[in-house]
């Protein structure tokens, strides 16, 4: 039961990294790839309907840690007090900026919102990598490398997502950025890989090496304009990286703590398992449906007439 809950929590974090990964990447890229207001709207609209639902993966992951492994939850959050304060500040600024941007009429106000989206995406993207690297390796250098790696991977993942979801200029630029980001990611991945303890589990090594291979594959696929496959590759790379991280955490979720010590009682874990397994399929179903509803590529306003029906968004 303890192992099952560890896997569930790893699954929730992994979902968060994959989904918010591209949200963060898109948020960081929007001021640079969107050269005018129309293009910025086009870029932000790719994540508009989904980012908030994606963020709930984090809320659920942390809530599940609280319920299933209270000591892990409390230890992790109180140990990384200041980094997590900054994560929260980032998430606050980003969320508000994303929601409010379309309701701002002055260009100067929108510039503030753009800055908020950029900073609010970059902070958590860097800090989550740094926090988990520090938990695993307990060193400041490792935290810096972990942070830089997760920042670069989210940039790559976000650029690939943008290339997949947009048309026109933005799509071309996103492809170019994705290719460039791959070049930055690979050396960081090699450094990160070399810092995995040598005595580590074989499965962890396999996951980590495959993740690196998928990152390289993602870069080459985007170069060859296979955007769907490239996105699958970067998403797969994040899944495998997360799997490697949690594979190591399973032995030691925090220094001096084991999962068994941190776990809630069998009654709580049991009853939550039944409820979780009953509800999760619905959640996955309607979130998947959202991506289906918004599956079309998004054009810059005034460029293409792909959207049928009245322009009835509340923003107008």
């Amino acid at each position: 039961m303890i192992d099952l809950w560890f896997v569930i929590i790893a699954f929730l974090w992994t979902g968060y990294f994959v989904l918010e990964g591209f949200d963060f990447g898109v948020g960081m890229l929007s001021p640079f790839l969107g050269r005018n207001e129309g293009q910025r709207k086009q870029i932000l609209q790719t994540i508009g309907p989904v980012w908030d639902g994606n963020e709930v993966w984090l809320i659920t992951a942390v809530g599940a840690m609280f319920a299933a492994f209270p000591a892990w939850y409390a230890g992790l959050l109180s140990t990384f007090y200041l980094p997590l304060t900054l994560v929260l500040v980032g998430l606050i600024v980003r969320g508000v900026a994303l929601e409010w941007r379309g309701k701002l009429e002055h260009a100067a106000d929108r510039a503030w919102a753009d800055a908020g989206i950029l900073a609010g995406s970059a902070l958590p993207a860097f800090l989550w990598g740094a926090v988990f690297a520090d938990v695993l390796l307990d060193s400041g250098v490792a935290a810096l490398i972990g942070g830089a790696f997760s920042l670069a991977v989210t940039l790559l993942h976000g650029a690939v997502f943008l290339a997949l979801k947009t048309e026109g200029r933005v799509r071309q630029r996103a492809r170019a950025v994705a290719t460039g980001a791959t070049v930055a990611v690979i050396p960081l991945a090699i450094v990160a890989l070399s810092s995995i303890p040598g005595e580590g589990d074989l499965a962890v090594w396999v996951a980590a090496v495959s993740a690196m291979a998928l990152l390289a594959a993602g870069g080459s696929l985007i170069w060859r304009r296979r955007e769907g496959w490239a996105f699958a590759a970067t998403a797969g790379a994040i899944v495998l990286t997360s799997a490697a991280v949690f594979g190591m955490l399973a032995q030691r979720p925090l220094p001096g703590l084991t999962l068994a010590e941190a776990a809630s009682g069998p009654y709580t874990l049991g009853v939550l398992t039944w409820i979780g397994l009953a509800v999760l399929p619905f959640v996955l179903g309607y979130q998947g449906w959202t991506y289906w509803v918004f599956r079309k590529r998004i054009a810059a306003p005034g460029r293409a007439a792909r959207v049928e029906g009245a322009p009835a968004g509340i923003g107008h």
């Binding site: 609209q45 609280f66 379309g102 701002l104 009654y267």
Partner: protein, 446 residues
């Protein structure tokens, strides 16, 4: 000042701030869904314009509720790690369920609603807003069940210095929660009602007669919610009499056990025997006083001060009652004034605008009563607040986060205020003329 004091201040500041937005999300969401339903049923254009107008205000506010809520979930672990370790087995479950059952629903369907106007069939699109607001209301249930457990812990046993859940059903059907959930949710509808009334009053003063409908709707909503709040408040008072005698005594400024206790409207004005009647349904019942409860708690738990800050608790109770009831009274007056298609008098519309802060102050005062009245415990009878704080977090760290959050929250409050006022001044926008050719502009929110 030590880390404990600052951690308490941070929890108070961030929670009160969070709860300025949450009740509006809960109540206004239902109001917007109701407007859209009216449009769907009647096809009348002004309902659509009002849906979009109030929808926009709802979304500006919703964003703040969401982002300040994340802080709440992290804060237990960051500042209150000892508390988290002690209660996680019980308290974590409703939090995890809240995220899984309610937040996913709320966020996902709201995304579909915002961006789905021209992508979903009308009926499905209407269903998305209902799903989102139902999600918000379910989240209220789970978090209030968790909160009620702190004041009246049930369905658990303490093993090796930690609370272990023995009965989830007991936690979710805690009598304290069952009284508190409808009380807080109905109070949220009063806050939302007060907001819609103030906005409608302002628009009517500007000569925008479209707002007569929302005004009447909000009057009805506030009046009904007022009845629910009063009824469940009575239930809560009777439970408090049984479960939290110290809080009741502090709320009344009653120092010693008193038979046939009077109710103090304000210090100096009292209604004989009313407190005993309200607490126990019996004018001769004995109500416990703070000093006597203190003595009994010392016998049970050893030396210590088990009294909450009595001034804060006493006055919070009166602010809650006074401002809450005046909002409901104002709505009843409005129903009378506007009966049978009568015009809304301009003095009344002005009063509605001025009354905007009243329900918000009332609901915040209600939380101060509830949570400061719980002190010095985090979990009544089990864990003291002083033993709940994170031992490894320094004063400097808490001071940093408290400063950051306070500054950021202050800035965002100003920004949200400006944004709301601008949009209210602008009023509902005209609908775009029907177009036959393929539209060139996609619907953009951002």
């Amino acid at each position: 000042m030590d880390a404990l004091d600052l951690a308490r201040w941070q929890f108070g500041v961030t929670t009160v701030y969070h709860f300025l937005f949450v009740p509006l999300t809960i109540g206004l969401g239902v109001f917007v869904a109701g407007l859209q339903t009216a449009w769907h049923r009647t096809g009348k254009e002004h309902y659509l314009r009002l849906t979009k107008f109030f929808g926009k205000l709802f979304l500006i506010n919703f964003a703040m509720g969401v982002v300040t809520g994340i802080v709440q979930e992290f804060q237990f672990g960051m500042n209150w790690s000892e508390y988290s370790v002690f209660v996680g087995d019980v308290f974590g479950a409703p939090l995890a369920l809240e995220a899984l059952v309610a937040f996913f629903m709320e966020s996902t369907f709201l995304g579909l609603w915002i961006f789905g106007w021209d992508k979903l069939p009308k009926r499905v699109h209407l269903a998305t807003i209902w799903a989102a607001v139902i999600g918000s209301n379910i989240s209220a249930y789970f978090i209030l069940a968790a909160n009620a457990w702190m004041k009246h812990p049930v369905g658990y046993e303490v093993v090796d210095g930690k609370a272990r859940m023995t009965d989830l059903w007991a936690v979710l059907t805690n009598s304290t929660a069952l009284a508190q959930v409808p009380h807080v949710v109905a109070a949220s509808f009063i806050v939302a009602g007060g907001f819609v009334l103030a906005v409608s009053g302002y628009r009517l003063l500007k000569g925008d007669t479209t707002f007569r409908g929302p005004l009447r709707g909000a009057l009805v909503m506030t009046a009904i919610a007022g009845a629910v709040v009063a009824g469940t408040g009575d239930m809560s008072a009777k439970l408090m009499y049984e479960q939290q005698p110290m809080k009741l005594a502090a709320a009344e400024g009653l120092t010693h056990d008193t038979k046939g206790a009077p109710f103090h409207v304000v210090p100096g004005i009292e209604i004989p025997k009313l407190l005993s009647f309200l607490s126990a349904g019996d004018t001769e019942a004995v109500v416990q006083g703070t000093e006597d409860v203190q003595r009994r708690l010392e016998q049970r738990f050893g030396p210590g001060d088990y009294r909450p800050d009595q001034q804060v608790v006493f006055w919070s109770y009166r602010v809650m009652l006074g401002f809450g009831l005046s909002t409901v009274g104002l709505s009843l007056l409005g129903l009378w004034l506007t009966r049978r298609r009568r015009q809304v008098p301009s003095w009344y519309a002005r009063a509605l605008v001025l009354a905007l802060p009243l329900p918000l102050l009332a609901i915040i005062a209600g939380w101060l009563l509830s949570e400061i009245g719980r002190q010095p415990w985090t979990v009544a009878g089990e864990l003291l607040t002083a033993s709940s704080v994170s031992p490894g977090v320094s004063l400097a760290e808490v001071a940093t986060s408290l400063t950051l959050f306070t500054l950021l929250y202050g800035l965002l409050a100003v920004a949200e205020g400006v944004l709301l006022v601008r949009n209210v001044k602008k009023g509902p926008e005209p609908l775009p003329a029907p177009v036959r050719e393929p539209v060139r502009e996609p619907s953009l929110m951002y």
